[in-house]
Amino acid sequence: MNAHVTSEAQLLNVRQLEVVYHDVATAVQGVSIEVAQSSIVAMIGPNGAGKSTTLRAISGFLPAEDVKVTDGTILFEGSSLRGLLPHQISRRGVVLVPEREKVFQTLTVQENLDFSLTYKARPRRDEVYAYFPPLAERRTQVTGYLSGGEKQMLAIGMALVCEPKLLLVDELSLGLAPRVTEEIMSILRTINGDLGIAMLVVEQNAAAALRIASFAYVLEGGRVVFKGEPERLLNHQDIREFYLGGSKEKARSYRELRQYARKRRWWG
């Protein structure tokens, strides 16, 4: 699926985004991202590349936080999201699943899902229990005592209950066992297929993300350095070496591994 036919028809259209922390530290510079209707787009890259910051910029900052979007446009369904408060953005259909502090620890699972539940959205909540059976078993349990995987499922469930058109998922694999990550990623793909919700998935686990995405961006140092369909990324030398664990041809010993010395060239 070619996500670049007409930029104007994109669900989410971010152009030349620039985000600055504390007036002095530029975290994201000149980043342009597009998400088409009902597609899954991945953002991969190392620590501190600005992936989470981009998601936070799209989903809105609280006025008290010392971070500003200083340049660029963020268009969702044609209208700008810049300057809106987080609750206004989520009411428009852009919902973030944060990296840390993603659920209300002192509330029960049921209360978390019912947090801002409207009468209209009740069927959606029951669908969430269907997608994530472990949650259904622990309805009345206080969330603080859930395992990491269950908390992540609950976080995604809470986001789904808000009836989003675009789901922003921030580093869902952090702290999760690989099998649980696989499970949740495939559930995400199922949800995307069933409900048609577009997703922008930020991941350090590049392999897992590229398995479910239809388009991917690579961020480094606050900039987009590469983009393309997953096949293109999987075959790219630099991506393979730095994000996917080396080339498939031969096993390399540490002596031969000069990852630290080789510059990334981003050819091809």
């Binding site: 987080p86 973030l96 502090e101 947090f115 539940l117």
Partner: protein, 292 residues
């Protein structure tokens, strides 16, 4: 028996004050040092509003006075939030607490300026319900204080546990950003919290003023309410009730049996004792200690 009723009535007043502090704390992790002043100012407003409706606190004029005071106090709470506390979101909680100290000073001065430091009383329900042979009596207002307190706490508990807004309160208290990302307008939540808190403060102040004299020195009861809230646990409504009764009982008994001067220090001695043993309060949650 009369002792018991006095303690219950005083304890209910303290519990209501503590409830207001707990509401704001549960919603925003801010300790409101101005709560005593808000209560006394509310009582003065009630007293002055009574004059507007004919100075007799009975029947219809009573209802109008109550309505005016309730509306004014809730509105004042919203104004305090919108004008001051909203700008402090994201700053450390101690800064917000210091701002409430500033508000307390301003309100205390307002009592002096607006009401010219007159000591007044609210003549409400002073008729006795039961009279004892020893000369003591239980008045209607004593009964009303306890009943109002029970009703208020019941309503509050149901609100927090079973309503959507109550859930959103609890969620906003824990994680405002996540709440905002889940479609909740945290400004609205916090404004409602402040409105509720100042309303409960006025309620406590009016009940207090009906049983004793109001003067510019009265706001000291705010500290008793604060110690009651801390003893019970800043995030626990159950603790507010228990703390209020405990502090009231200790204060009253000390004043009667030992010395009135010591009874002023008793709430703080209880607080120090509880802080040594269970700093998060008798009914509070341990994690709160690390969140401030």
């Amino acid at each position: 028996m009369e002792l018991l009723v006095s303690i219950l009535a005083l304890g209910s007043t303290y519990a209501l004050l503590a409830a207001g502090i707990v509401i704001i704390y549960k919603a925003s992790r801010v300790v409101n040092f101005a709560h005593g002043e808000l209560a006394i100012v509310g009582a003065y407003v009630f007293h002055s509003a009574a004059f507007l409706t004919g100075a007799s606190l009975t029947g219809q004029s009573l209802l109008i006075t109550i309505a005016i005071s309730a509306a004014a106090s809730a509105l004042f709470g919203v104004i305090i939030y919108a004008a001051l506390m909203r700008r402090l979101l994201g700053r450390p909680a101690i800064v917000a607490a210091m701002v409430t100290i500033g508000v307390a000073l301003i309100l205390k001065a307002a009592i002096v300026v607006i009401w010219e430091s007159r000591s007044v009383g609210i003549a409400l329900g002073r008729q006795p319900v039961i009279t004892f042979e020893s000369g003591g009596r239980v008045t209607w207002i004593d009964v009303a204080t306890v009943v109002v307190c029970i009703a208020f706490f019941a309503a509050l508990a149901l609100f927090f546990q079973y309503t959507r807004l109550g859930r959103q309160f609890r969620g906003t208290a824990e994680n405002p950003l996540l709440a905002a990302q889940r479609k909740v307008n945290i400004n609205r939540i916090l404004a409602v919290a402040w409105g509720m808190a100042v309303f409960s403060a006025t309620l406590a102040g009016v009940l207090f003023g009906s049983r004793s004299i109001l003067s510019p020195q009265s706001p000291i009861i705010g500290l008793s309410g604060l110690t009651a809230a801390m003893v019970g646990g800043l995030d626990s409504l159950r603790g507010a009730v228990f703390g209020g009764l405990l502090v009231a009982a200790a204060t009253y008994i000390t004043a009667r049996l030992i010395s009135p001067a010591l009874s002023e220090a008793v709430p703080f001695l209880i607080l120090l004792a509880v802080m040594c043993w269970r700093p998060w309060g008798l009914f509070g949650t341990v994690e709160e200690l690390n969140r401030v």
